[in-house]
């Protein structure tokens, strides 16, 4: 979970809202919420792609079994 937070903080340093939640308490099902100016003007698919890109490593090595994503543009 700390690894996810670190990766996301690096990818979205100016996030105005940020949370990583372990949905099942088992360290592999996560809900992430990020509000960032990086999302401004992008489609939802493009926004989620940025999150997937940031978490490419833990996705590839199966640390993340399931990921729920909520992205928001900057307020």
């Amino acid at each position: 979970m700390e690894r996810l937070e670190t990766l996301l903080r690096e990818a979205f340093p100016h996030a105005s809202e940020f949370s990583v939640f372990d949905r099942t308490g088992t360290g592999d099902h996560f809900q992430v919420v990020v509000a960032s100016p990086r999302f401004d003007g992008l489609s939802l698919v493009e926004q989620h792609r940025l999150v997937y890109d940031a978490l490419a490593e833990p996705l590839a090595d199966r640390t993340i079994h399931e990921l729920r994503i909520k992205t928001k543009e900057s307020p």
Binding site: L44, V45, H48, R49, Y52, A56, L59, R68, I69, K70
Partner: protein, 124 residues
């Protein structure tokens, strides 16, 4: 002979609404696949489902093709809409119905009558 990758491309191009999921509409094997299916059904989408579980290559080829790492994946009129989160989000805001209408026409609900989601089986 058609390769698996071409077959997947064909499904995406041909089917009005393609849902790549774990399991089948009758026997859903994953909570997120169910969320996507329910969001689509709720919007009256004529869903064609592909079960990715019988062959791990389906998921590999699909993700290589779409650049989307997770399952489910929803395509409307050949365009990647996203996974369960986006599909649900669009359903809640009403944008899903707008997308279906603009891609498939105002009568999209009647494309298949009121038939339940159909399953398309990968041959390769």
């Amino acid at each position: 002979m058609m390769e698996l990758r071409e077959e997947i491309e064909q499904v995406i191009a041909e089917e009005p609404v393609a849902l790549f999921m774990k399991g089948t509409p009758q026997r859903v094997m994953c909570g997120n696949s169910l969320r996507a299916l329910e969001a689509l059904s709720g919007a009256g989408a004529p869903v064609t489902a592909v079960d990715i579980l019988p062959d791990p290559r389906i998921r590999q080829e699909l993700s290589a093709l779409s650049g989307w790492p997770t399952i489910p994946q929803v395509f409307i009129g050949g365009e990647l809409i996203g996974g369960a989160d986006i599909t649900e989000e669009l359903a809640e805001s009403g944008e899903l119905e707008e997308k279906l209408e603009s891609a498939l026409g105002a009568g999209y609900r009647n494309l298949r009558g009121s038939k339940p989601p159909t399953l398309r089986v990968m041959q390769k």
